[in-house]
């Protein structure tokens, strides 16, 4: 799970409060802690160059509009939400879709076994809608709970629950061994 705290004394939320008071050391800690996660999250929508710019602009906006940002309950959820909004803002004319796997799973070219499984997995994942993929990712790979996801995506709590229930059902029905495939694929 990826939602860790840097230390017991400085939660990201504490650091955020310091940052709002103008403490740039706190800001830098927040930045360093979340950069990789945000980058990876962004990669699921757009390519790496675009992600770099969107993460950049997200933080730039936070610095500029610091005074109008109120206290937040979950820094990571807030940053993800801001980044996602930024991506949609930049790509407004084009259709963008969340992609759970494509391009993000590293495997050896000569590893035919893995390649085979990867393809199988991709086919499986393709059965999910972009929204379902997005929710699965946020919940199981980014460690957000349903409430945080509903805030992050600006959808109702009940909707998150329902969409997830549907996605889980689909995955388990389509490939009862979905999780095992995923595990096999990525464990080595």
């Amino acid at each position: 799970m990826s939602f860790k705290k840097t230390s017991n004394l400085d939660t990201q939320e504490d650091l955020w409060k310091l940052f709002l008071k103008g403490d740039m050391i706190a800001f830098r800690k927040i930045y360093n802690f979340h950069y990789q996660m945000m980058y990876n999250f962004g990669l699921r929508y757009i390519d790496s160059n675009e992600v770099t710019d969107c993460v950049h602009d997200t933080f730039l906006n936070i610095i500029h509009y610091k005074d109008s940002i109120s206290e937040i309950t979950n820094v990571k959820a807030y940053l993800f939400k801001s980044l996602r909004n930024q991506i949609y803002k930049v790509k407004k004319s084009k259709k963008i879709e969340f992609d759970l796997i494509d391009g993000t799973v590293a495997y050896q070219e000569d590893d035919t076994d893995k390649e085979k499984v990867l393809n199988e997995l991709k086919l499986l994942i393709e059965k999910l809608s972009p929204r379902e993929k997005e929710l699965i990712y946020l919940k199981y790979f980014q460690g957000f709970n349903n409430f945080e996801i509903s805030e992050l995506l600006d959808v109702k709590y009940q909707t998150v629950r329902n969409v997830l229930a549907g996605a889980i059902k689909k995955l388990r029905k389509l490939g009862s061994n979905f999780i095992e495939i995923l595990f096999f694929l990525l464990s080595k």
Partner: protein
């Protein structure tokens, strides 16, 4: 409350309370889920275990396997700070455009000798890493750091780094900037001096956001503290200041005989030796000038205050602001000025020594515009065809002669 329910695997996988419990290694201070498990039948228990197994496997996965280097993230952070700074400046530069339009825009010039510079010995190893050290005799742009060492800024210099105290330094052949990234608490007395030789210009972007454009043959000392009560700087030569507004910390341009006090404004200061005076020209805002005798005046935009070194009186008069600040855009405007007055400026811009045959040449008057980017020949050609003055160049020497036939 869990006891009356019988969750299916799918429901367990979607249950945040359950997920939290798994993540905490089945501890999490509540054993509701243990109790729940106890009352399940064999099939229920099997499903329960299956759900746990699936979640544990999922959490063990790392599908985010792009690993960015710490350097990349650091570079991106620096880029962020620079951009953030630049946008602040962009807001400010609207005023600069303004200044050309506004009628009341004006300037003032003053000159002064270099005040005593307090340099403290704060070691800054980082400069050693990025710039070459130098003796003080170079024709290149030099920076003296708080550790009293000189470093060269060359045509191909282009480095940026974070100093230990959290200040971001970005230096290239045109400009050095200091950006505060973290709370800079240690450094109180950190003086830097920039030396700009003849024929060069340089730009300093101070840590408080103040921008300083230095003209050729100038020496500028400033304190890089963010905590001192006042922002004190010294100038020998000429500079255009765009001071970041901060009423808590007045900006003081200091000299042996004239002091300029501002809160945030734009003004030009000049004290080249041959002029025998310090002048300051105000573009925008307001500034206060004072001399050692305690005389002090408030200057309005468009006005110039002059203090002659051998007199104690501050003279304020209206002036042509455009002309005074033209040098910042690499232009030299002169209106009906004697050659005698032009020569020192040409010398500074082009780093040449001028010689005359015939004193009367010095009284020749000129009106025109000279761009720094054009070379000196351009100006000399102009002299030849408009005034009948011939020239010859040998190394650093330029000899001017009146044509016989005219």
């Amino acid at each position: 409350m869990l006891n009356n329910q019988n969750f299916k695997i799918d429901e367990l996988l979607n249950n945040d309370d359950f997920i939290l419990w798994i993540k905490s290694n089945e501890k999490n201070g509540n054993d509701n889920w243990q109790e729940y498990k106890k009352q399940l039948n064999a099939e229920g228990k099997a499903n329960f275990e299956k759900a746990i197994s699936i979640l544990k496997k999922v959490f063990a996965l790392h599908i985010d396997d792009t690993n960015l280097s710490a350097e990349f993230i650091q570079e991106q952070y620096i880029r962020l700070l620079e951009k953030s700074k630049k946008e602040k400046i962009a807001k400010k530069s609207k005023y600069v455009v303004f200044r050309n339009v506004l009628k009341y825009a004006a300037i003032f010039i003053l000159l002064f000798t270099l005040g005593n510079v307090v340099v403290n010995k704060l070691s800054k190893k980082s400069f050693d890493k990025y710039l070459a050290t130098s003796d003080f005799n170079s024709s290149e742009i030099l920076i003296k750091t708080p550790s009293n060492k000189f470093y060269k800024i060359k045509d191909n210099t282009n480095s940026k780094w974070l100093m230990e105290n959290g200040i971001l330094v970005n230096v290239n052949s045109d400009k050095i900037s200091f950006v505060s990234t973290d709370n800079v608490s240690k450094a109180i007395e950190v003086d830097y001096t920039i030396y700009v030789p003849k024929s060069k210009n340089y730009h300093v972007s101070m840590i408080d956001g103040t921008e300083v454009e230095l003209n050729s043959d100038s020496e500028f000392t400033f304190n890089n503290s963010t905590l001192s009560k006042e922002r004190k700087v010294n100038l020998n030569g000429e500079a255009f200041f765009s001071v970041a507004h901060n009423k808590e910390r007045p900006f003081l341009v200091n000299s042996s005989d004239l002091e300029i006090k501002v809160l945030g404004t734009e003004f030009n200061v000049s004290n080249y030796k041959e002029n025998n005076f310090t002048s300051t020209t105000l573009v925008e805002g307001s500034i206060q000038v004072s001399n050692p005798q305690g005389e002090s005046k408030i200057i309005e935009p468009g006005n110039q205050a002059k203090l002659y070194h051998n007199q104690n009186k501050i003279i304020v008069e209206n002036t042509d602001v455009q002309n005074v600040v033209a040098w910042t855009s690499g232009v030299f405007i002169f209106r009906n000025e004697k050659l005698e007055k032009l020569i020192p400026r040409l010398n500074r811009w082009f780093n040449k020594e001028f010689e005359f045959e015939g004193e009367e040449l010095l009284d020749f008057k000129f009106t025109g515009t000279l761009k720094k980017e054009n070379d000196l020949n351009h100006f000399l050609q102009m002299l030849k065809y408009t005034k009948g003055i011939s020239y010859s160049i040998e190394g650093k020497k330029v000899k001017l002669t009146k044509d016989l036939e005219k």
